[in-house]
Protein backbone atom coordinates (compact mmCIF):
# COMPACT_ATOMS: atom_id res chain seq x y z
CA UNK A 1 0.00 0.00 0.00
CA UNK A 2 1.43 3.36 -0.93
CA UNK A 3 1.64 6.22 1.52
CA UNK A 4 -1.00 8.04 -0.44
CA UNK A 5 -3.47 5.21 -0.05
CA UNK A 6 -2.68 4.87 3.63
CA UNK A 7 -3.33 8.53 4.27
CA UNK A 8 -6.50 8.33 2.24
CA UNK A 9 -7.52 5.48 4.51
CA UNK A 10 -7.16 7.68 7.56
CA UNK A 11 -9.15 10.42 5.91
CA UNK A 12 -11.84 7.94 5.03
CA UNK A 13 -12.02 6.78 8.61
CA UNK A 14 -12.32 10.33 9.78
CA UNK A 15 -15.09 11.23 7.44
CA UNK A 16 -17.20 8.25 6.64
CA UNK A 17 -19.56 6.02 8.50
CA UNK A 18 -18.94 2.29 8.61
CA UNK A 19 -19.27 0.45 5.34
CA UNK A 20 -22.43 -1.48 4.62
CA UNK A 21 -20.53 -4.70 3.98
CA UNK A 22 -19.68 -4.90 7.66
CA UNK A 23 -23.34 -5.12 8.72
CA UNK A 24 -22.90 -1.93 10.67
CA UNK A 25 -24.56 -1.16 13.93
CA UNK A 26 -26.74 1.87 13.27
CA UNK A 27 -25.76 3.54 16.54
CA UNK A 28 -22.06 3.67 15.68
CA UNK A 29 -20.74 6.49 13.59
CA UNK A 30 -17.14 7.59 13.92
CA UNK A 31 -16.38 11.19 14.57
CA UNK A 32 -13.85 13.13 12.52
CA UNK A 33 -10.33 14.30 13.25
CA UNK A 34 -9.74 18.02 13.15
CA UNK A 35 -7.46 19.15 10.37
CA UNK A 36 -4.40 19.64 12.58
CA UNK A 37 -4.73 16.17 14.13
CA UNK A 38 -5.40 14.62 10.74
CA UNK A 39 -2.18 16.19 9.48
CA UNK A 40 -0.25 14.80 12.44
CA UNK A 41 -1.66 11.34 11.86
CA UNK A 42 -0.88 11.58 8.17
CA UNK A 43 2.74 12.43 8.98
CA UNK A 44 2.99 9.43 11.34
CA UNK A 45 1.56 7.13 8.68
CA UNK A 46 3.74 8.65 5.97
CA UNK A 47 6.85 8.29 8.09
CA UNK A 48 6.07 4.67 8.91
CA UNK A 49 5.33 3.97 5.29
CA UNK A 50 8.63 5.42 4.21
CA UNK A 51 10.39 3.07 6.63
CA UNK A 52 8.65 0.12 5.06
CA UNK A 53 6.47 -0.63 8.06
CA UNK A 54 2.94 -2.03 7.72
CA UNK A 55 0.70 0.95 8.45
CA UNK A 56 -2.71 -0.71 8.52
CA UNK A 57 -2.32 -1.13 12.28
CA UNK A 58 -1.90 2.65 12.72
CA UNK A 59 -4.95 3.33 10.60
CA UNK A 60 -6.98 0.81 12.58
CA UNK A 61 -5.97 2.44 15.86
CA UNK A 62 -7.12 5.82 14.63
CA UNK A 63 -10.37 4.32 13.45
CA UNK A 64 -10.98 2.70 16.81
CA UNK A 65 -10.23 5.93 18.62
CA UNK A 66 -12.72 7.80 16.50
CA UNK A 67 -15.35 5.15 16.92
CA UNK A 68 -15.24 5.24 20.71
CA UNK A 69 -14.98 9.04 20.71
CA UNK A 70 -11.52 9.26 22.23
CA UNK A 71 -9.97 12.72 22.41
CA UNK A 72 -7.91 13.61 19.35
CA UNK A 73 -4.64 14.16 21.28
CA UNK A 74 -5.00 10.65 22.66
CA UNK A 75 -5.66 9.26 19.20
CA UNK A 76 -2.55 10.94 17.82
CA UNK A 77 -0.53 9.70 20.77
CA UNK A 78 -1.81 6.16 20.27
CA UNK A 79 -1.00 6.28 16.57
CA UNK A 80 2.53 7.43 17.37
CA UNK A 81 2.94 4.66 19.96
CA UNK A 82 1.84 2.04 17.43
CA UNK A 83 4.33 3.34 14.88
CA UNK A 84 7.16 3.23 17.42
CA UNK A 85 6.28 -0.31 18.44
CA UNK A 86 6.13 -1.43 14.82
CA UNK A 87 9.65 -0.14 14.28
CA UNK A 88 10.90 -1.74 17.48
CA UNK A 89 9.25 -5.05 16.57
CA UNK A 90 10.80 -5.07 13.14
CA UNK A 91 14.24 -4.51 14.62
CA UNK A 92 13.76 -7.28 17.18
CA UNK A 93 12.53 -9.71 14.53
CA UNK A 94 15.29 -8.97 12.02
CA UNK A 95 16.53 -9.72 9.47
CA UNK A 96 13.41 -10.05 7.29
CA UNK A 97 10.19 -10.28 9.26
CA UNK A 98 6.88 -10.46 7.43
CA UNK A 99 4.18 -7.84 7.95
CA UNK A 100 2.25 -10.36 10.05
CA UNK A 101 5.30 -10.95 12.24
CA UNK A 102 5.84 -7.22 12.73
CA UNK A 103 2.19 -6.67 13.63
CA UNK A 104 2.23 -9.60 16.05
CA UNK A 105 5.41 -8.19 17.56
CA UNK A 106 3.75 -4.79 17.92
CA UNK A 107 0.83 -6.43 19.70
CA UNK A 108 3.20 -8.24 22.06
CA UNK A 109 5.11 -5.05 22.86
CA UNK A 110 1.83 -3.28 23.59
CA UNK A 111 1.12 -5.59 26.54
CA UNK A 112 4.53 -5.05 28.11
CA UNK A 113 6.53 -7.86 26.57
CA UNK A 114 10.12 -6.73 26.02
CA UNK A 115 11.90 -6.70 22.70
CA UNK A 116 14.42 -9.28 23.92
CA UNK A 117 11.57 -11.81 24.23
CA UNK A 118 10.82 -11.24 20.56
CA UNK A 119 14.49 -11.75 19.75
CA UNK A 120 14.48 -15.05 21.66
CA UNK A 121 11.49 -16.35 19.74
CA UNK A 122 13.04 -15.28 16.46
CA UNK A 123 16.30 -17.02 17.37
CA UNK A 124 14.64 -20.40 17.94
CA UNK A 125 12.62 -20.20 14.75
CA UNK A 126 14.73 -18.36 12.19
CA UNK A 127 13.35 -17.96 8.72
CA UNK A 128 9.78 -18.88 9.62
CA UNK A 129 6.78 -16.82 10.64
CA UNK A 130 6.41 -16.50 14.39
CA UNK A 131 3.18 -14.52 14.35
CA UNK A 132 1.26 -17.34 16.03
CA UNK A 133 3.83 -18.03 18.78
CA UNK A 134 3.96 -14.29 19.46
CA UNK A 135 0.18 -14.22 19.75
CA UNK A 136 0.24 -17.12 22.21
CA UNK A 137 2.97 -15.39 24.21
CA UNK A 138 0.85 -12.26 24.37
CA UNK A 139 -2.22 -14.26 25.36
CA UNK A 140 -0.35 -16.02 28.18
CA UNK A 141 0.99 -12.73 29.52
CA UNK A 142 -2.47 -11.17 29.32
CA UNK A 143 -3.82 -14.19 31.22
CA UNK A 144 -1.44 -13.46 34.09
CA UNK A 145 1.64 -15.56 33.36
CA UNK A 146 4.87 -13.65 33.98
CA UNK A 147 6.60 -12.46 30.82
CA UNK A 148 9.79 -14.39 31.52
CA UNK A 149 7.99 -17.63 32.27
CA UNK A 150 5.70 -17.31 29.26
CA UNK A 151 8.68 -16.58 27.01
CA UNK A 152 10.60 -19.58 28.36
CA UNK A 153 7.63 -21.89 27.88
CA UNK A 154 6.80 -20.80 24.34
CA UNK A 155 10.48 -20.90 23.36
CA UNK A 156 10.83 -24.39 24.78
CA UNK A 157 7.72 -25.64 22.99
CA UNK A 158 8.93 -24.29 19.64
CA UNK A 159 12.27 -26.02 20.16
CA UNK A 160 10.44 -29.28 20.76
CA UNK A 161 8.51 -28.91 17.56
CA UNK A 162 5.09 -27.87 18.88
CA UNK A 163 2.71 -26.95 16.08
CA UNK A 164 0.83 -23.67 15.85
CA UNK A 165 -2.39 -25.53 16.60
CA UNK A 166 -0.88 -26.96 19.78
CA UNK A 167 0.41 -23.54 20.83
CA UNK A 168 -2.96 -21.90 20.22
CA UNK A 169 -4.69 -24.66 22.18
CA UNK A 170 -2.28 -24.09 25.07
CA UNK A 171 -3.03 -20.37 25.13
CA UNK A 172 -6.78 -20.94 24.98
CA UNK A 173 -6.67 -23.66 27.65
CA UNK A 174 -4.75 -21.47 30.08
CA UNK A 175 -7.10 -18.62 29.33
CA UNK A 176 -10.08 -20.89 29.96
CA UNK A 177 -8.62 -22.20 33.23
CA UNK A 178 -7.98 -18.67 34.48
CA UNK A 179 -11.57 -17.79 33.60
CA UNK A 180 -12.66 -20.61 35.90
CA UNK A 181 -10.63 -19.26 38.77
CA UNK A 182 -7.33 -21.11 38.35
CA UNK A 183 -4.00 -19.36 38.89
CA UNK A 184 -2.31 -18.64 35.57
CA UNK A 185 1.03 -20.19 36.55
CA UNK A 186 -0.61 -23.34 37.93
CA UNK A 187 -2.69 -23.69 34.81
CA UNK A 188 0.36 -23.27 32.59
CA UNK A 189 2.19 -25.96 34.58
CA UNK A 190 -0.74 -28.33 34.21
CA UNK A 191 -1.20 -27.70 30.52
CA UNK A 192 2.54 -27.96 29.89
CA UNK A 193 2.50 -31.39 31.53
CA UNK A 194 0.07 -32.57 28.90
CA UNK A 195 1.96 -31.02 26.02
CA UNK A 196 5.30 -32.22 27.31
CA UNK A 197 4.02 -35.78 27.38
CA UNK A 198 2.80 -35.47 23.80
CA UNK A 199 5.94 -33.81 22.50
CA UNK A 200 8.53 -36.01 24.22
CA UNK A 201 9.71 -38.51 21.61
CA UNK A 202 10.60 -40.93 24.41
CA UNK A 203 6.92 -41.19 25.27
CA UNK A 204 6.33 -43.54 22.40
CA UNK A 205 8.89 -46.08 23.52
CA UNK A 206 7.94 -45.63 27.13
CA UNK A 207 4.26 -46.19 26.63
CA UNK A 208 4.96 -49.21 24.48
CA UNK A 209 7.25 -50.58 27.17
CA UNK A 210 4.52 -50.22 29.75
CA UNK A 211 1.64 -51.40 27.65
CA UNK A 212 1.04 -54.92 28.69
CA UNK A 213 4.16 -56.88 27.99
CA UNK A 214 4.71 -55.66 24.46
CA UNK A 215 8.41 -55.11 25.07
CA UNK A 216 10.62 -57.37 27.11
CA UNK A 217 12.54 -54.40 28.49
CA UNK A 218 9.51 -52.74 30.03
CA UNK A 219 7.90 -53.30 33.39
CA UNK A 220 5.15 -55.85 33.51
CA UNK A 221 1.83 -55.99 35.24
CA UNK A 222 2.56 -57.62 38.55
CA UNK A 223 2.56 -61.32 38.96
CA UNK A 224 0.49 -62.56 41.86
CA UNK A 225 2.87 -62.35 44.82
Amino acid sequence: MSARIAIAGVALVAAASVGAAQQPSSAASPAALDSASAAQVARIVDDAQSKGLPVERIVAKVKLGLLIHTSTPRIVSAARAVAERLELARAALAPSPSAADIEAGEDALSVGIHADALEKLRAVNPGQSIAVPLGVLEQLVASGVSTKRATDMVTQLIRRGATNVQLVALGNDVDSDVGRGARADASLDARMNGLTAILAPGASATSAAEAGSSLPTGPKRPKTP
Binding site: A60, L64, S77, M192, I198, T217, P225
Partner: protein, 377 residues
Amino acid sequence: MRRARLIPLLVGLVCFARPSGAQSRLTADLGASHLKQDGVPETSALTLGASADAAGDRASFHSSVLTMLAPLDRWTGQGVAVGSVIGPSPLRPRWAIDGVASAFGETHDGPTFTGEAIARAFLGSRSRGGAIGGGVGGTTHAAMSNPLYQGLADAWWTLADERLSLSAALTSTHATFTDSSRFARAARPISYTDLAGGWQHERGGLSIAASGGVRGQGSAFDQTAVWGSIDATAWIAPRAAIEASVGRTLADLVRGVPSTRYLSVAIRISNRAHVTILSHGGELAGSRLSIDEGAGGDRKIEVRARGAQRVELMADFTDWSPVELSRDGDVWRLERAIPPGLHRVAIRIDGGAWTAPANLPRVNDDLGGVVGLVSVP
Protein backbone atom coordinates in the same frame (compact mmCIF):
# COMPACT_ATOMS: atom_id res chain seq x y z
CA MET B 1 25.95 -59.48 29.47
CA ARG B 2 28.53 -56.75 29.20
CA ARG B 3 26.15 -55.05 26.76
CA ALA B 4 23.26 -54.98 29.25
CA ARG B 5 25.48 -53.55 31.97
CA LEU B 6 26.28 -50.59 29.76
CA ILE B 7 22.64 -49.59 29.50
CA PRO B 8 22.27 -48.03 32.98
CA LEU B 9 25.37 -45.98 32.18
CA LEU B 10 23.72 -44.73 29.00
CA VAL B 11 20.53 -43.94 30.92
CA GLY B 12 22.58 -42.06 33.49
CA LEU B 13 24.40 -40.05 30.87
CA VAL B 14 21.12 -39.15 29.25
CA CYS B 15 19.74 -37.94 32.58
CA PHE B 16 22.42 -35.30 32.86
CA ALA B 17 22.26 -34.14 29.26
CA ARG B 18 20.91 -30.68 28.53
CA PRO B 19 18.95 -30.09 31.73
CA SER B 20 18.22 -26.44 30.90
CA GLY B 21 14.55 -25.54 30.74
CA ALA B 22 13.49 -29.02 31.81
CA GLN B 23 9.98 -29.81 32.96
CA SER B 24 9.81 -32.37 35.72
CA ARG B 25 7.11 -34.26 37.57
CA LEU B 26 7.03 -36.65 40.49
CA THR B 27 4.06 -38.84 41.38
CA ALA B 28 3.23 -41.39 44.05
CA ASP B 29 0.41 -43.96 43.81
CA LEU B 30 -1.33 -45.90 46.57
CA GLY B 31 -4.00 -48.39 45.61
CA ALA B 32 -5.32 -51.90 45.42
CA SER B 33 -5.51 -54.49 42.66
CA HIS B 34 -7.48 -57.63 42.09
CA LEU B 35 -5.57 -60.13 39.96
CA LYS B 36 -6.55 -63.29 38.15
CA GLN B 37 -3.72 -65.20 36.53
CA ASP B 38 -3.43 -68.45 34.67
CA GLY B 39 -2.68 -71.29 37.09
CA VAL B 40 -2.68 -69.05 40.16
CA PRO B 41 -5.53 -68.47 42.68
CA GLU B 42 -7.22 -65.07 42.46
CA THR B 43 -5.85 -62.58 44.91
CA SER B 44 -5.94 -58.95 45.91
CA ALA B 45 -2.91 -56.85 46.72
CA LEU B 46 -1.90 -53.45 47.98
CA THR B 47 0.02 -51.44 45.38
CA LEU B 48 2.65 -48.77 45.96
CA GLY B 49 4.10 -46.91 43.01
CA ALA B 50 6.14 -43.85 42.14
CA SER B 51 7.33 -42.18 38.96
CA ALA B 52 9.67 -39.40 37.96
CA ASP B 53 9.62 -37.62 34.59
CA ALA B 54 11.74 -34.84 33.19
CA ALA B 55 11.84 -33.41 29.69
CA GLY B 56 14.20 -30.81 28.33
CA ASP B 57 14.78 -29.39 24.88
CA ARG B 58 16.98 -32.26 23.76
CA ALA B 59 16.59 -34.94 26.40
CA SER B 60 13.90 -36.66 28.39
CA PHE B 61 13.80 -39.13 31.24
CA HIS B 62 11.07 -41.36 32.62
CA SER B 63 11.26 -43.81 35.48
CA SER B 64 8.73 -45.70 37.55
CA VAL B 65 8.69 -48.31 40.28
CA LEU B 66 5.81 -50.47 41.47
CA THR B 67 5.55 -52.81 44.45
CA MET B 68 2.66 -55.15 45.22
CA LEU B 69 2.10 -56.55 48.68
CA ALA B 70 -0.20 -59.49 49.23
CA PRO B 71 -1.18 -61.53 52.32
CA LEU B 72 1.43 -63.90 53.81
CA ASP B 73 4.23 -61.39 53.12
CA ARG B 74 4.32 -62.09 49.42
CA TRP B 75 5.47 -59.32 47.14
CA THR B 76 6.64 -58.35 43.67
CA GLY B 77 8.69 -55.36 42.69
CA GLN B 78 9.58 -53.82 39.36
CA GLY B 79 11.14 -50.70 38.00
CA VAL B 80 12.01 -49.13 34.67
CA ALA B 81 14.07 -46.14 33.58
CA VAL B 82 14.09 -44.68 30.09
CA GLY B 83 16.40 -41.88 29.04
CA SER B 84 16.32 -40.28 25.61
CA VAL B 85 18.61 -37.92 23.74
CA ILE B 86 16.86 -36.21 20.85
CA GLY B 87 18.41 -34.80 17.72
CA PRO B 88 18.19 -31.10 16.82
CA SER B 89 14.87 -30.12 15.28
CA PRO B 90 16.10 -28.38 12.11
CA LEU B 91 17.29 -31.73 10.78
CA ARG B 92 14.81 -33.97 9.02
CA PRO B 93 14.28 -36.71 9.92
CA ARG B 94 15.02 -36.25 13.59
CA TRP B 95 16.64 -38.97 15.60
CA ALA B 96 16.60 -40.17 19.18
CA ILE B 97 18.70 -42.57 21.21
CA ASP B 98 16.94 -44.27 24.11
CA GLY B 99 18.50 -46.18 26.95
CA VAL B 100 16.11 -48.49 28.77
CA ALA B 101 16.81 -50.42 31.96
CA SER B 102 14.35 -52.46 33.98
CA ALA B 103 14.25 -54.95 36.84
CA PHE B 104 11.61 -57.37 38.10
CA GLY B 105 11.70 -59.43 41.28
CA GLU B 106 9.36 -61.39 43.49
CA THR B 107 9.21 -63.20 46.82
CA HIS B 108 10.58 -66.62 45.94
CA ASP B 109 12.60 -65.98 42.82
CA GLY B 110 15.66 -64.00 41.83
CA PRO B 111 15.34 -60.77 39.89
CA THR B 112 15.33 -60.41 36.13
CA PHE B 113 17.26 -57.47 34.69
CA THR B 114 17.01 -56.11 31.19
CA GLY B 115 18.78 -53.37 29.34
CA GLU B 116 18.43 -52.06 25.84
CA ALA B 117 19.70 -49.25 23.64
CA ILE B 118 17.27 -48.08 20.97
CA ALA B 119 17.93 -45.80 18.01
CA ARG B 120 14.96 -44.22 16.26
CA ALA B 121 14.37 -41.86 13.34
CA PHE B 122 11.31 -39.60 13.33
CA LEU B 123 9.35 -38.58 10.28
CA GLY B 124 6.58 -35.99 10.13
CA SER B 125 5.67 -33.69 12.99
CA ARG B 126 5.05 -34.24 16.65
CA SER B 127 1.32 -34.11 16.14
CA ARG B 128 1.30 -36.47 13.18
CA GLY B 129 4.10 -38.71 12.10
CA GLY B 130 5.96 -41.92 12.57
CA ALA B 131 9.20 -43.43 13.73
CA ILE B 132 11.24 -46.45 12.86
CA GLY B 133 14.13 -47.87 14.76
CA GLY B 134 15.93 -50.80 16.22
CA GLY B 135 17.26 -51.89 19.58
CA VAL B 136 19.88 -54.20 20.98
CA GLY B 137 20.33 -55.31 24.56
CA GLY B 138 20.18 -58.22 26.89
CA THR B 139 18.36 -59.90 29.76
CA THR B 140 19.70 -61.77 32.75
CA HIS B 141 18.06 -64.08 35.27
CA ALA B 142 19.67 -66.54 37.68
CA ALA B 143 23.12 -65.98 36.19
CA MET B 144 21.82 -66.70 32.70
CA SER B 145 22.29 -63.88 30.21
CA ASN B 146 20.62 -63.68 26.83
CA PRO B 147 20.72 -61.25 23.93
CA LEU B 148 17.75 -59.15 22.87
CA TYR B 149 17.10 -57.63 19.44
CA GLN B 150 14.18 -55.51 18.32
CA GLY B 151 12.83 -53.70 15.30
CA LEU B 152 10.30 -50.97 16.04
CA ALA B 153 7.82 -48.84 14.11
CA ASP B 154 5.41 -46.25 15.54
CA ALA B 155 2.83 -43.88 14.11
CA TRP B 156 0.84 -41.21 15.92
CA TRP B 157 -1.82 -38.67 15.19
CA THR B 158 -2.95 -35.97 17.58
CA LEU B 159 -6.11 -34.01 16.91
CA ALA B 160 -7.16 -31.53 19.58
CA ASP B 161 -7.64 -33.61 22.74
CA GLU B 162 -7.39 -36.99 21.04
CA ARG B 163 -4.23 -38.97 20.41
CA LEU B 164 -4.14 -42.12 18.34
CA SER B 165 -1.13 -44.39 18.06
CA LEU B 166 -0.13 -47.55 16.28
CA SER B 167 2.99 -49.58 16.84
CA ALA B 168 4.66 -52.71 15.59
CA ALA B 169 7.63 -54.50 17.09
CA LEU B 170 9.66 -57.52 16.07
CA THR B 171 11.47 -59.11 19.02
CA SER B 172 14.06 -61.83 19.16
CA THR B 173 15.42 -63.06 22.49
CA HIS B 174 15.67 -66.13 24.69
CA ALA B 175 13.09 -67.32 27.22
CA THR B 176 14.29 -68.69 30.51
CA PHE B 177 10.81 -69.67 31.62
CA THR B 178 8.40 -72.19 30.20
CA ASP B 179 4.65 -72.10 30.56
CA SER B 180 4.91 -68.50 31.79
CA SER B 181 6.22 -69.14 35.28
CA ARG B 182 8.35 -72.28 35.46
CA PHE B 183 12.06 -71.60 35.25
CA ALA B 184 13.91 -73.61 32.66
CA ARG B 185 17.52 -74.59 33.09
CA ALA B 186 18.28 -73.90 29.46
CA ALA B 187 17.10 -70.85 27.59
CA ARG B 188 15.33 -71.34 24.31
CA PRO B 189 15.20 -68.77 21.51
CA ILE B 190 11.86 -67.05 20.89
CA SER B 191 10.73 -64.50 18.34
CA TYR B 192 7.44 -62.73 18.14
CA THR B 193 5.68 -59.80 16.52
CA ASP B 194 3.57 -57.28 18.41
CA LEU B 195 0.95 -55.09 16.77
CA ALA B 196 -0.71 -52.54 19.04
CA GLY B 197 -3.02 -49.54 18.86
CA GLY B 198 -4.08 -46.95 21.38
CA TRP B 199 -6.37 -43.98 21.87
CA GLN B 200 -6.12 -41.31 24.54
CA HIS B 201 -8.43 -38.45 25.35
CA GLU B 202 -7.26 -35.78 27.75
CA ARG B 203 -9.12 -32.65 28.74
CA GLY B 204 -10.30 -30.77 31.78
CA GLY B 205 -8.62 -32.94 34.38
CA LEU B 206 -9.89 -36.20 32.90
CA SER B 207 -7.80 -38.66 30.93
CA ILE B 208 -9.22 -41.79 29.35
CA ALA B 209 -7.13 -44.26 27.39
CA ALA B 210 -7.74 -47.55 25.69
CA SER B 211 -5.10 -49.71 24.13
CA GLY B 212 -4.81 -53.21 22.84
CA GLY B 213 -2.72 -55.45 20.72
CA VAL B 214 -1.97 -58.85 19.39
CA ARG B 215 1.24 -60.87 19.66
CA GLY B 216 1.95 -63.46 17.04
CA GLN B 217 4.57 -66.17 16.91
CA GLY B 218 5.55 -68.54 14.20
CA SER B 219 6.28 -67.97 10.58
CA ALA B 220 2.59 -67.70 9.69
CA PHE B 221 1.50 -65.84 12.81
CA ASP B 222 -0.09 -69.17 13.78
CA GLN B 223 0.15 -68.65 17.55
CA THR B 224 -1.51 -65.43 18.68
CA ALA B 225 -2.45 -63.85 21.99
CA VAL B 226 -4.25 -60.59 22.63
CA TRP B 227 -4.03 -57.98 25.36
CA GLY B 228 -5.97 -54.82 26.12
CA SER B 229 -6.45 -52.19 28.78
CA ILE B 230 -8.69 -49.28 29.66
CA ASP B 231 -7.36 -46.61 31.99
CA ALA B 232 -8.99 -43.50 33.44
CA THR B 233 -7.47 -40.75 35.55
CA ALA B 234 -9.58 -38.02 37.11
CA TRP B 235 -7.85 -35.13 38.90
CA ILE B 236 -10.11 -34.34 41.84
CA ALA B 237 -7.71 -31.76 43.29
CA PRO B 238 -4.77 -29.94 41.70
CA ARG B 239 -2.33 -32.52 43.08
CA ALA B 240 -4.55 -35.57 43.66
CA ALA B 241 -6.22 -37.94 41.22
CA ILE B 242 -8.19 -41.16 41.24
CA GLU B 243 -7.00 -43.79 38.80
CA ALA B 244 -8.81 -46.89 37.65
CA SER B 245 -7.55 -49.52 35.25
CA VAL B 246 -8.85 -52.80 33.91
CA GLY B 247 -7.28 -55.10 31.39
CA ARG B 248 -5.46 -58.22 30.41
CA THR B 249 -1.73 -58.67 29.84
CA LEU B 250 0.24 -61.23 27.92
CA ALA B 251 2.33 -63.96 29.43
CA ASP B 252 5.94 -62.88 29.86
CA LEU B 253 8.32 -65.76 29.20
CA VAL B 254 11.39 -63.62 29.88
CA ARG B 255 10.45 -62.79 33.47
CA GLY B 256 8.12 -65.66 34.21
CA VAL B 257 4.84 -63.76 34.57
CA PRO B 258 1.68 -65.53 33.43
CA SER B 259 -1.11 -63.83 31.50
CA THR B 260 -3.02 -61.63 33.94
CA ARG B 261 -6.46 -60.11 34.14
CA TYR B 262 -6.55 -57.22 36.58
CA LEU B 263 -8.70 -54.48 38.04
CA SER B 264 -6.95 -51.74 39.97
CA VAL B 265 -7.86 -48.49 41.70
CA ALA B 266 -5.38 -46.00 43.12
CA ILE B 267 -4.95 -42.53 44.51
CA ARG B 268 -2.22 -40.54 42.76
CA ILE B 269 -0.38 -37.62 44.35
CA SER B 270 1.68 -35.30 42.12
CA ASN B 271 4.09 -32.49 42.87
CA ARG B 272 2.77 -30.57 39.87
CA ALA B 273 -0.63 -28.90 39.81
CA HIS B 274 -3.21 -30.15 37.32
CA VAL B 275 -6.49 -28.83 36.05
CA THR B 276 -9.24 -30.65 37.95
CA ILE B 277 -12.58 -32.08 36.91
CA LEU B 278 -14.20 -29.92 39.58
CA SER B 279 -12.83 -26.59 38.39
CA HIS B 280 -15.92 -25.57 36.47
CA GLY B 281 -17.35 -23.63 39.39
CA GLY B 282 -16.63 -20.01 40.07
CA GLU B 283 -16.96 -18.87 36.49
CA LEU B 284 -16.75 -15.17 35.99
CA ALA B 285 -19.99 -13.28 35.87
CA GLY B 286 -20.74 -11.23 32.78
CA SER B 287 -20.85 -11.74 29.05
CA ARG B 288 -18.77 -14.53 27.58
CA LEU B 289 -17.49 -14.86 24.04
CA SER B 290 -16.46 -17.98 22.16
CA ILE B 291 -15.41 -18.66 18.57
CA ASP B 292 -15.89 -22.07 16.99
CA GLU B 293 -15.83 -23.63 13.55
CA GLY B 294 -18.81 -22.55 11.46
CA ALA B 295 -20.21 -23.52 8.10
CA GLY B 296 -18.26 -23.11 4.87
CA GLY B 297 -14.99 -22.09 6.49
CA ASP B 298 -16.58 -19.27 8.46
CA ARG B 299 -16.24 -18.98 12.22
CA LYS B 300 -19.21 -18.98 14.55
CA ILE B 301 -19.03 -16.25 17.16
CA GLU B 302 -21.24 -16.63 20.22
CA VAL B 303 -21.74 -14.17 23.04
CA ARG B 304 -23.66 -15.27 26.11
CA ALA B 305 -25.25 -12.24 27.69
CA ARG B 306 -28.13 -13.02 30.00
CA GLY B 307 -30.95 -10.51 29.90
CA ALA B 308 -29.42 -8.39 27.13
CA GLN B 309 -31.67 -6.75 24.55
CA ARG B 310 -28.93 -5.89 22.12
CA VAL B 311 -25.34 -7.07 21.65
CA GLU B 312 -22.75 -5.51 19.34
CA LEU B 313 -19.21 -6.61 18.61
CA MET B 314 -16.22 -4.94 17.05
CA ALA B 315 -12.81 -6.39 16.50
CA ASP B 316 -9.76 -6.21 14.31
CA PHE B 317 -11.46 -8.78 12.07
CA THR B 318 -14.42 -6.39 11.58
CA ASP B 319 -11.95 -3.60 10.83
CA TRP B 320 -13.17 -2.06 14.09
CA SER B 321 -16.64 -1.61 12.69
CA PRO B 322 -19.48 -2.43 15.11
CA VAL B 323 -21.60 -5.40 14.05
CA GLU B 324 -24.90 -6.33 15.65
CA LEU B 325 -25.34 -9.99 16.62
CA SER B 326 -28.48 -12.11 16.10
CA ARG B 327 -30.34 -13.24 19.18
CA ASP B 328 -31.17 -16.82 20.12
CA GLY B 329 -32.35 -16.71 23.72
CA ASP B 330 -29.44 -15.65 25.91
CA VAL B 331 -26.98 -16.47 23.14
CA TRP B 332 -26.07 -13.93 20.45
CA ARG B 333 -24.52 -15.18 17.25
CA LEU B 334 -22.57 -14.04 14.22
CA GLU B 335 -20.84 -15.99 11.46
CA ARG B 336 -17.97 -14.59 9.42
CA ALA B 337 -14.53 -15.41 8.12
CA ILE B 338 -11.80 -14.85 10.69
CA PRO B 339 -8.15 -15.55 9.91
CA PRO B 340 -6.18 -17.74 12.33
CA GLY B 341 -4.22 -15.95 15.02
CA LEU B 342 -4.72 -13.71 18.01
CA HIS B 343 -7.46 -11.12 17.72
CA ARG B 344 -8.61 -8.13 19.73
CA VAL B 345 -12.31 -7.85 20.34
CA ALA B 346 -14.76 -5.69 22.29
CA ILE B 347 -18.51 -5.98 22.88
CA ARG B 348 -21.24 -3.58 23.87
CA ILE B 349 -24.42 -4.59 25.68
CA ASP B 350 -27.60 -2.53 25.26
CA GLY B 351 -25.71 0.49 23.97
CA GLY B 352 -23.43 0.74 27.03
CA ALA B 353 -19.67 1.10 27.05
CA TRP B 354 -17.44 -1.00 24.86
CA THR B 355 -15.60 -3.53 26.98
CA ALA B 356 -13.83 -6.88 26.87
CA PRO B 357 -15.91 -10.07 27.30
CA ALA B 358 -15.60 -11.29 30.88
CA ASN B 359 -14.02 -14.62 29.95
CA LEU B 360 -11.17 -13.21 27.86
CA PRO B 361 -7.83 -11.83 28.98
CA ARG B 362 -7.94 -8.07 28.54
CA VAL B 363 -5.35 -5.59 27.40
CA ASN B 364 -5.23 -1.82 27.13
CA ASP B 365 -6.14 -0.41 23.75
CA ASP B 366 -3.85 2.70 23.99
CA LEU B 367 -7.02 4.79 24.01
CA GLY B 368 -8.08 4.50 27.64
CA GLY B 369 -10.22 1.42 27.16
CA VAL B 370 -9.74 -2.33 27.21
CA VAL B 371 -10.24 -5.06 24.63
CA GLY B 372 -10.26 -8.82 24.96
CA LEU B 373 -7.84 -11.25 23.35
CA VAL B 374 -9.14 -14.34 21.61
CA SER B 375 -7.04 -16.84 19.73
CA VAL B 376 -8.37 -18.57 16.62
CA PRO B 377 -6.57 -21.79 15.58
